[in-house]
Symmetry: C2
Subunit: 101 residues, 2 copies
DNA sequence: CAATCATTTAGATATTTAGCTAAATACCAA
DNA sequence: TTGGTATTTAGCTAAATATCTAAATGATTG
């Protein structure tokens, strides 16, 4: 989870995740969207992989990256929940849950 | 928003926010919860202030920090929404309710 | 006023991070 | 096999970050 937050700390990486949210893309396609070198992008991909936020699938010479939305969700929603965030309607339920534990 | 994510990248700072979620605390009280020096904590507080995640109120010699939950919410829920994530708390609450009844 | 308490600032160091270019690797096609 | 495309690895630099101790600031108290 710490790795996820570290990964999210960089705007380039957040943008990569947003792009991947729409469809899987190859490393090259992703790199084309940014004004940095491909090796730099490759390093960003490595951070995202280590955070388990993306999945890399090699097809021949190209590597397709795919967002692992559930991992992102677990981190973000888990964190949000620790702060009692959410639709206002849920406030009572959170309290109910806390009362249980 | 970038500053918020940068601030959240450090586990000590996330923990500070969680402590402040329960009640406002002074810099000293907060510092006592961690195994790092007070100057180090002071630097963490500065990062949180610059991200506008906390509010600092000086009363005499002490400074009381208070979580600005709405700022945290705007960042986290805004981000979650960009990924089409649902209201964070909902699923858990439903389960809590079911457990209750 | 002098001592003390709470917190920050200053200054130093070590580690991490983001970026680059050049080179290596792996694959595909002619 | 030769050349080209896709991507990563290696090696480097510059900047940012996290940490420390020592000192400064400012408020409180004897």
């Amino acid at each position: 989870m710490n790795r996820v937050f570290k990964a999210l700390a960089d705007p380039t990486r957040r943008r990569v995740l947003e792009l991947l949210r729409q469809r899987p893309m190859t490393a090259g396609e992703l790199a084309d969207q940014f004004a940095v070198s491909k090796p730099t992008m490759s390093a960003h991909f490595a951070v995202l992989r280590e955070a388990d936020l993306v999945d890399a699938a090699k097809q021949g010479a190209t590597i397709t990256y795919r967002l692992k939305l559930s991992v992102l969700e677990d981190a973000i929603l888990g964190f949000a929940q620790a702060f009692g965030m959410g639709a206002p309607v849920e406030a009572a339920s959170v309290q109910a849950k806390e009362t249980l534990s």
